[in-house]
Subunit: 275 residues, 4 copies
């Protein structure tokens, strides 16, 4: 598995250059970023060069299409989706991810119907570029009732949904926080097949009942109670060999990027030990 | 459009022969029945002959697959589905229908995901025989809260779902009672395209607020308040030329089949006048 | 059915304005054009106004995506496809068409596999905008052997392919020339269902064996041997009520646009008489 | 990877019992057989017991549906397909395979269109039982021209076709003979992903130009020129951990089952050494 970073948990990153070189300096081999914006700022050649010279790849990019509201909004994102796919592929990135909010103000069943169709189209467009789509189930309990109607938060239900979406290039984004808040065990990861896992997020949780954990109050890997070593081991046995990207959603901090990179590295060293 | 009957509203029909000849006698050109059971009882040749000699076709047959509970139960119905499709096609019937309960004890969104996949497979199996699948939206208000979670009851949501199911041979079963209880108008039918309408049910409703109408307390066509002429006119303009089958779900009656056929004919004469 | 024009057969049209006002002047209610280029030249508002003031709609636009060569070329067209779909929908046009060359230098079976996947994606993208995709089978005999391997030219095979592509919004573009060169009769059109017909082209053929007719040597409607009245009658009975667009592929002419519009109108008057 | 047998290459096997116990005796852990026939002969309980007591699983069963000729023939196989799927799943077998003849008397492109639709439906039915479908590309040169029109024989084209079929549960059956006759190398196997490989056949080829090798004239593993160790190593690196089943299509032999099992074991010992 490949150690990776997202911006979440690194404080105020000033530039893609800082992100990439910082990652490289602390032993990370991957960063998640917006490929279109990256190329816009640096140009294709310099962007490619920046990755190459730092021996860093792009792990995944976000699905920016709004598949959660109206058809109009959804359609408006399609052109940008094609652009993102082109840009990502041009930089060697073949993973795109989106998250599933566990509740919704829409009526649940009709929304599931339209969401299925929209994500299928996104997957098919991405598929034309060889890009896979990862769906992140979100376990945080407070979000299950944050909007009017329950939607979906279980790993098993997400796998079932993926079967319904039906496209060959769709799988899970498995995030350690949502694995934890869903009360899942290492054994649950062993049921996954390689094609089920598109991308992985890693971060840690405070002690206490999982019902109380807040989505935006996560800890750095190794600083909480999640069995991250077991988590990674399970994914490895299930056949995953891709990027594991840190994503620490947390209240803002006064710590420097440098300090946060040090903490991130320490957490990864611990979680990745003896894998 | 073709006048048709189902058993619902005809009292105690003793045999397929009675159903078919009774239909013919009162000017109906179609009956809905179970093609496998029909052939089992009469044999292929006699069954065919019975339809032909009475100049009656089979309008539609019910999707017997249980797509609403477990995967096991769903799978158990697949062999029978193939048999039904074979039998129906052998008798010249190319329509199969199922209804959508407006609420469910399952979690709505995950259930929508699996239901989509199951109905897609049913549609694809039926499609191999040239058979279309009609989905009946059910408007009755008391059923919207009969089970724990709201599912789907609007015509527009059903059309949206059909787009998601995606198979070319799926459309609506439009029932006048559910059109009425959804508060729809003739104009709403004009938005439909020919391929949207697989089958049509006709029956009437008691006077009073639509919120109070019970699903099992329907009236014979022409004996209630639904604008059935407008209903049929709208479907006709939308390009529908198929079977309109009476389906009067009602508490049991002491009236004879004969009497009920007379009432049915009277209702159709009224609704079909000047179409 | 709605009388329509394409540029083919009108000589040197100088502008969209000339095309649209010329169409209107001679009783045509539709023109086929490139919606992106049209908006680029006139702006959204003026383009809309030009159509509206002439009481003319856009019948269909061409699928510009190259689905016949490499994956790279295919992908390059996707962004433009989204733009075209947006532009077309903004002008009220919901039909897009492409033609199928009856032979190919690719290996036939593998090419069919990739073409199916590519057209499915195009259809799904168009579908997000409510746009249907019409596939034009091309009957001209000399083109069946023009490239190394036979591909597909029969209406029935195209319908079969459409079932395989599977998207609900795909149908035929029926061109009178290809109907004629395939040796089809009016009865063959009666087998079509409304959803099978996305768009119609009309033009005429010289006398003589259909094996000898050249694709680029067509005649104006009414000036050749095709039973265009029967052709239109068949489509009408099959439930088609959309645009019938003239497309006269022919060696260049010295005749003025005016003269050619007069001839076009005369041909349509004849073919549309008593429909 | 799991050592497996098919009947091909074992001479005259008298019973399933002989097949299964013979396999077990010579260190094979899997046999390919017809689950419906097996249960018909032994009953569900005894069949299950026979596998269990010998510690043998069923590797794969053949797709008996005729997807290569008419729609009628295709449909006739669907009921049996459901039965096979049920029977296989009840015995713990979740793989079904079919082979692709490299040429066809049908017109290549239209046949590809219908074959795609048919295999999609088979895959979807199998998918309801959790069963994957493996497509075997057939490289033998003489078969590429045996029927009138070339169809498909390359691994890459088969993968492309699988993308078009689109179902998540479809992959390759990789047979060492067809890998060899396609002139493929170990590197070509490394491009495969775990989900691409459903099943594996192993057998060997005579020396000489691959253009001359006959499909029915294969050798036992280790008795010919194919680098079977490299073949297996490549599949292993690509993530395959399933059954490798011997399938020696060869002119009939006078050798005893016993002798042939000994030769089979010897070949596997050689090919599997140091994996």
């Amino acid at each position: 598995m490949i150690r990776g970073l997202t911006r979440a948990g690194l404080g105020t990153i000033e530039s893609y250059e800082q992100l990439i070189s910082g990652a490289a300096q602390y032993g990370f081999k991957s960063v998640d970023l917006d490929p279109v914006d990256f190329i816009r700022q640096y140009g294709q050649e310099k962007a490619t060069q920046l990755l190459k010279s730092n021996n860093v790849i792009i792990g995944s990019f976000d699905l920016e299409v709004d598949w959660r509201s109206s058809e109009e909004r959804f359609r408006e994102g399609l052109k940008a989706l094609v652009e993102s796919a082109e840009a990502a592929a041009s930089l060697g990135c073949y993973k795109c991810c989106t998250y599933i909010l566990p509740s919704t103000d829409e009526e649940a069943a009709p929304f599931m119907a339209v969401a299925t169709r929209r994500l299928r189209l996104c997957a098919d467009i991405l598929g034309a570029y060889g890009i896979r789509l990862g769906l992140e189930f979100v376990g945080s309990w407070h979000l299950r009732t944050h909007w009017a109607n329950p939607f979906l938060w279980k790993m098993e239900d997400t796998l079932d949904w993926i079967e319904t979406i039906g496209a060959r290039n769709v799988g899970l984004l498995v995030d350690s926080y949502h694995w934890h808040t869903n009360g899942l065990a290492v054994d649950d990861l062993l049921k996954l097949k390689p094609e089920h896992i598109v991308h992985v997020h890693i971060n840690d949780a405070k002690d206490g009942p999982i019902e109380k954990l807040l989505d935006g109050d996560r800890l750095y890997p190794g600083e909480g109670v999640i069995d991250l070593h077991g988590f990674l081991k399970g994914l490895q046995i299930a056949g995953y060999a891709g990027v594991v990207a840190q994503e620490v959603l947390t209240p803002s901090t006064s710590a420097s990027v440098e300090e946060l990179l040090v903490r991130s590295k320490a957490g990864f060293d611990k979680a990745f030990a003896n894998l």
